[in-house]
Amino acid sequence: MANSKAVFKRDSGLQARMLLTMFLLGLLYVGFAGVLFAAGAGAAVMAVVIGLFALAQLFFSDKLALASMGAKEVSPEEAPGLHAMIDRLCIQADLPKPKIAVADMDVPNAFAIGRSQKAATVCATTGIMRTLSPAELEGVMAHELAHVKNRDVLIMTVVSFFASIASMIMQFAFFFGGGGDDEDGGLPFIVVLLASALVYVISFFLMMSLSRYREFTADRGAALTTGRPSALASALMTISGAMQRVPETDLREAERMNAFFIVPASVKGSIKTLFSTHPPMEKRIERLQALEAQLQAA
């Protein structure tokens, strides 16, 4: 028998779709860059400025996100169980130890942030630690560590770069009323504005779908790390059930953090899949069950 058993098969369908999404995004951005450069140097300057913003976001967003959640970093003495659990998951997933933070709120959720594996922070709410059993919590933390391992924060930041340029241009347009029409050969401002709007809308949907693919991948990574797909599935069920019982104020407060949460805290209940950063719960559980079946059959 081979040294390592392929307990879980590759999910090449998922990877193909992810690759296609990235390709479409790339194509869109190349086209958009073309329009920007045709419009003149002003746009290039803007791109540099926004590039700097993106860098700043990459370096400071983790602290901002933690602060907005009221999350505090905890030492091993303060949260011994959580630390011990993550220590073992890190050995198993071959990751350096991330910072661990706890947010004192009832919404049962967890998220991972940080631009690199070394600068990562994993955060859990007190709600999730109360609600889930140890095995379920382990599944959730493994999911967050899979995000760290897959560099999802970095990838989503890079991917959203041109989308932010597009939205910036639209905001500028509102400020100046489209007055900056240059007559010396460049594209009229209205064309750039329309292109920006189009790029923003299309990239929004592509990014949402990319984010959903990466959630599936993180679920898979978690199942791989813990060897217990069903524990994560059961955690997802518990969380989605508990999400509806918590006070609405907390949910709205949590809304800002949706992109990095394990389950989006939606006030409305059901949003259209197209608009959401996370795949529907049933789909995730379905795939986890398929993984459990593979594991048992191996």
Binding site: S4, E77, A84, C90, I91, P134, R228
Partner: protein
């Protein structure tokens, strides 16, 4: 991890056990005993995630039988227990350190040969130095050792002592884990 692995969401497999370097312990033990007054407690353990699959249970039983067979010559005792984190420990006891390392190697090779090398978390050797416990933890995925010295009290470790031990044994051929962020503690080691 390659670029495309990162782009598409990580390698699809866990890292399997790195080339076995458990025997580095045997050679280093001479210096540990004579120079650092660090003596084996006669116990060592392998900690891993037990999978809830039938062939995994079978491999575990086979391994235990295999060890029980050789134990008659060497006198190595074997027991297993589950800890509160959901991991399983196979604990080996033998006053002869060399036999202990051989038995540790047998167990990890068996599990790896069964295809479950990626489930191995760590191998732990317990020593006693001046009345306190010193552990050497072997991270299978990294193929590296690091010392772990709990200093009593809730989740406290003596990092100073750990780094000193590493420095003192730097010439003994132990492959030490270079990154301190990967010196993961294991609390409540049942050894």
């Amino acid at each position: 991890m390659g670029f495309f692995d990162a782009l598409l969401g990580g390698g699809k497999k866990l890292k399997t056990a790195a080339p076995d370097r458990l025997f580095a312990m045997t050679t280093a033990y001479v210096a540990m005993e004579t120079e650092l007054d660090m003596k084996t407690t006669g116990a060592a353990g392998i900690v891993f995630q037990p999978l809830a699959t039938s062939d995994f249970e079978q491999i575990l039983r086979d391994t235990q039988e295999l060890l029980a067979g050789t134990a008659e010559e060497t006198g190595t005792a074997l027991e297993s227990s589950d800890d509160e984190h959901g991991y399983r420990w196979i604990i080996l006891r033998d006053p002869d350190f060399e036999d202990l390392v051989v038995a540790m190697n047998t167990v990890s090779t068996e599990l790896a040969a069964g295809g479950y090398g990626d489930r191995l978390l760590a191998a732990v050797f317990a020593f006693e130095q001046k009345g306190r416990r010193v552990h050497f933890i072997y991270n299978y995925k990294r193929g590296a050792f690091y010392p772990f010295v709990p200093s009593g009290g809730e989740q406290r470790r003596d990092s100073e002592a750990e780094m000193r031990i590493k420095a003192q044994l730097s010439d003994e051929g132990i492959p030490f884990e270079p990154e301190l962020t990967r010196w993961f503690p294991l609390w409540d080691i049942p050894l």
